[in-house]
Symmetry: C2
Subunit: 281 residues, 2 copies
DNA sequence: GTTTTTATAATGGACAGACCATTGATGCAT
DNA sequence: ATGCATCAATGGTCTGTCCATTATAAAAAC
């Protein structure tokens, strides 16, 4: 806890930086270090406590945290602070909140989408370049293909073939969103074949972000996309690792060039922008 | 906005599921779909608005959002709701909050640590196995080594050599945390040499989590670790890609076996555990 | 005139107390 | 048994208040 714990004495404990009686002053004097200017906020400390119990195994998926009110009382903080902490953990995919009687905060197993989300954010905010993103995707897919060749199972292989069939019948209607979904599924199946959840998540993240760009850039449909995918699946099926890697890499590099060109032209067209200080509409 | 916007009419707008006058009822009748049972919470809608403006480029790093009070008024919601939204965005690394006059919520460039954080959470919560984690690390490092061989610059190479020197003088004192830091730095330098931020983040994430496990498992110090690293750096310096990849892979696989063995013995010792319903201490 | 000090206002951080909506359980009536 | 009404637990939200921190402006000191 490290806080007062007296629960009723929840007054005047916000800043803790100045005007403190004896105990705290002594505690601060015992650390002549200068480093941590950063005053931790209440909700952060709560989050850390939960994460600690998670790492040591005291808290496991399915466990329930005490209700907000109770937790607030136990920690000697306001319910709002507890809520902000729970909000953080929820956003982090660590807990899920359920309303109603018998509701509460339950420990989850984490959320793979978060990896995608955070990488996407960094991409949108300019910390990650399209060039780096597509390159990384090309490289990671080489790994995925390699493992997939070794480990793919008949059912997944069949699903891949079905997926390509589905794609082959799609261009007639020509919906971009459907192509998106089908392609995403294709890569997801390959990543599943690797039998490695970490690789799956990485592939998923990179694929989704790049594909989103493909849709936005309105890239013309590759006429030989179906043929490419068929070859790829065939190579995987017959365990021709090097052929499969080459097929995949060539395709992704071609897509990469397309995207980079699209980005260049897009940058040229809208060279100006509204100045912002956004009040959100 | 999609909400009332009248700002003063912030009453009775919590549930929105029942007891709505005319306009909303008509809007709902126009969508005979059944899907979205999930009633979105206020703060989620606020987050989405911000993210939308981010993706379209209306909000860019450095821009400032309106102060909490103003934002609450504009959106016709309470300040607490706005705070929860900002909290979410802050946790997501999208905004940073600054106190004081001229403070506020500023758009950031995202936080690479989030990738590490989310993967770590999933690992701790059992969604990712140590086996998958170490395998992925082995594979990804192959990519990193490959790119590093091609792209490393003299300064980074020198830093790598210095890092190994530092490591060679460390075992005398024998602090585990220092070994951790030095090793983490070693891998960070290699990943930096790839000149690919995405790969950097992935390597950083996997390395940190695995290294943390190494510390906890109290693995005995590899007596030939320094020799291994020297060889590796030498291979990178002389662009012997295959040798470097082999050197790296062999080391990581050996470490992997050690960790897996440690995990097995740890599981055997503590087969029981406290039943939880954790009240956090 | 310049520097230092002191107020002031803006803004995030935290708290208290309240009300509503949802949900599961419990008991009553059919 | 089945269905319905009631109730209590719990998250979601609102309102209002106060505190701590910070930059800027005003005032005082030099």
């Amino acid at each position: 806890m490290s806080r007062k714990t007296t629960a009723t004495a929840a007054k005047s404990r916000t800043g803790k930086g100045a005007r403190q009686p004896a105990a705290d002053a002594a505690k601060e004097r015992s650390q002549p270090q200068f480093a941590p200017i950063r005053t931790k906020r209440v909700f952060e400390e709560i989050c850390e406590q939960v994460r600690r119990e998670m790492a040591t195994g005291s808290l496991r998926p399915g466990d329930k945290l005490p209700p907000e009110r109770e937790l607030a009382a136990k920690l000697g903080v306001s319910r709002a602070a507890v809520r902000e902490a729970l909000r953080s953990l929820e956003i982090a995919g660590v807990v899920g909140l359920q309303k109603g009687a018998r509701g509460g905060a339950f420990i989850l197993k984490g959320d793979p989408d978060l990896v995608t989300q955070s990488i996407r954010d960094m991409f949108h905010l300019g910390r990650i370049s399209l060039d780096n993103l597509t390159e990384a995707r090309t490289l990671v897919m080489q790994l995925a293909i390699q493992l997939a060749c070794e480990r793919i199972r008949p059912t997944t292989l069949a699903a891949l073939e079905r997926n390509v069939d589905q794609l082959s019948m799609l261009p007639a209607t020509g919906k971009a969103s459907e192509r998106f979904a089908t392609s995403a599924e294709f890569y997801r199946l390959i990543s599943q074949a690797t039998d490695n959840t970490v690789l799956q998540m990485i592939v998923e993240a990179l694929t989704e972000i790049v594909l989103q760009q493909v849709v936005q850039a309105n890239i013309e449909f590759f006429p030989n996309l179906v043929a490419h995918r068929r070859r790829l699946v065939e190579y995987i099926a017959s365990d021709r690792v090097e052929d499969a890697k080459r097929e995949m890499t060539e395709h992704l590099q071609r897509l990469r060039r397309h995207l980079m060109r699209a980005e260049r032209t897009a940058a040229e067209s809208k060279s100006t922008r509204t100045p912002a200080e956004a009040t959100s509409r």
